[in-house]
Subunit: 351 residues, 2 copies
């Protein structure tokens, strides 16, 4: 297929497959289950490759994402989110549970009791605990209260999970993995003390993956690792050659002696973490920085290098690939033998 007009997201399928296979091999060698978070790619083709490489199932963030992937035949899905279930979402979750093994997250006694009341034992649950990211998830030492409330209301509580998202910090990766192991150890022990044997102890994030304590965890849920992005590059999680997705952009202006590309925040996403050096990176120009980002303009300081010609193409790696992918209807997969369109079937499925 011929290339679409810029800006478009291009996947290097060779690199993608290496990322999928090497992470699967690492999990297998450590004897833990890999349950990749598909919110990163929202793409059935990629989820199937992950399962073919040995993933035990998939992780999603929303019921809508679960619907997309169950419809595509994925049959073991964890909604890693403290869902507040109501009558309408309960109907959707129960319909999914007819077709797939479905697990949801709960992080409070009230939420667990509510889920148990509306879902009963046709859906399983894991208790989310906070390991230091301070987002959702309760204190690890109180995990049994949450589990107990769910069990009493009839839901099948199978274990505990956390997201060590504070791994997204310079030099924070190993420390976050230690926090993760500590929190999950405490939470699992709390369940055992209450007579609940946790069969799942789940964690994982792409930055902390190499440091995950697989003597504690039974399951890893990284998402970004399939593509990687400028954040992972700048955090030092990966080298540039492990990045499999970039945005192909056109040089539209040389205003002010700088490079202006047509890849703005409506293609790259507006993410800029505190540690980021700009709004994305240019693999062919590692010293360049995107110093200004509008919806359809990326202004690049090329650090003195000659400006690529007007109308020429430049590749940009987004800061945060999950938000970039969610902006497009399709990924363009470069198989080495031309471009293939891969629909982003889960795009926009926020509910």
């Amino acid at each position: 297929m011929s290339a679409p007009p810029t800006p478009y997201l291009r996947v290097d399928v060779g690199r993608l497959q290496v990322n999928i296979d090497s992470t699967a091999a690492r999990a297998a060698a450590a004897g833990v289950a890999l349950r990749p978070h598909v919110k990163t790619h929202k793409c059935v083709e990629i989820a199937r490759r992950q399962v073919a490489a040995g993933a035990a199932g998939i992780t999603v963030a929303t019921v809508g994402e679960a619907e997309v992937f169950v419809e595509a035949g994925l049959d073991d899905v964890f909604v890693a989110y403290p869902l507040w279930v109501d009558e309408r979402s309960a109907e959707r979750v129960l319909a999914l549970a007819e077709r797939a093994r479905l697990t949801i997250g709960v992080d409070s006694a009230e939420g667990a009791a509510n889920a148990g009341r509306l879902l009963g034992d046709r859906v399983a649950a894991l208790v989310e605990v906070d390991s230091g990211h301070h987002r959702s998830g309760g204190p690890p030492e109180r995990a049994a209260e949450v589990a107990g409330a769910g069990i009493e209301a009839g839901i099948d509580v199978r274990g505990v999970f956390t997201f060590p998202g504070h791994s997204y910090a310079p030099d924070g990766r190993a420390a976050a993995a230690r926090d993760e192991a500590r929190a999950l150890t405490v939470a699992a022990a709390a369940l055992r003390a209450a007579g609940i044997e946790p069969s799942v102890v789940s964690g994982g994030s792409t930055p902390s993956l190499a440091d995950s304590d697989t003597s504690v965890l039974t399951e890893l849920r990284p998402g970004v690792y399939v593509f990687n992005d400028a954040q992972q590059w700048e955090l030092g999680t990966v080298g540039q050659e492990q990045i499999s997705l970039s945005c192909r952009a056109t040089v539209v202006s040389h205003a002010g002696g700088r490079l202006v590309l047509d890849s703005g925040s409506k293609t790259l996403g507006a993410d800029r973490a505190g540690y980021a050096t700009g709004y994305g990176r240019l693999p062919e120009h590692p010293d360049a920085r995107i110093v200004q980002l509008s919806e359809h303009h990326a202004v690049v300081d090329l650090a003195g290098a000659p400006l690529p010609a007007l109308g020429s193409r430049v590749d940009v790696v987004p800061n945060h690939v999950c938000n970039a992918v969610n902006l497009v209807d399709d990924l363009w997969a470069d198989t080495g033998d031309g471009l293939v369109r891969w629909p982003v079937s889960g795009r926009g499925r926020n509910s």
Copy 2:
């Protein structure tokens, strides 16, 4: 229609119409044309209301957006972007020019000559100049070189435009409007000196709108004013009662004694300008701040106020409404008499 599951974007149609009408009235009173930027809403229903209120035409950022609105019957469209035209995009632009009066931006002699060569006189052009935002646009005093190159290549150059985007700064609104007037005055004079009479002198941004010098400008192109957002609120451009779009969210967790909502960066957008106090604002809790934003979590510090119950609904105003709208397929318009679905027909049309 019954409300969709959260998170969803809700439009207060009463406030929207007040924003549309009051801005149209102000432009009419000043004797300048209003050509709203529809990238903010990407919604045919809203563009039609703008034209019904007196807009002279619309502004878009991409050829894809132009296609959506021309298809819907809008017949006077300015692509306010320094398009680098190639054979494929020329074909699309020329097809549009069969059905609508079409104008594009150019900001270099090379770009103008290229556009003239591929488009000829069936499309008009305006020369973009930089008034201080330092994005695209050449120096105002050199606008005639760009215009001349375009005219020589056959395109109909009708005037000059700028985007005073540096109005997005605390206390920067009036200064940006002065810079805008100065740059456009210089650019228009440069064209006249070269024997080209500019019929269009176009500027405008929502923050600078009240200060626009309508003795210089013939046309205003604000976008955000239809909805406004947390950025405009925090810049002081508008009061809270002028904000017509918010994201309805559900309280999913009270982890850490804070409020966690299901409206994350995949609904609100990840924008956070340097002056922003958080990742969006809560109209019902003006002292609250969104201190952490993930893809599906907004963590809110309520400044000591009691936490709304788990499962209850809370409204969030996004920082930058243009990026929030581009994340959803539909807006939910509250007419005072129930919700109506308004498709975001231009969503994702980045090319």
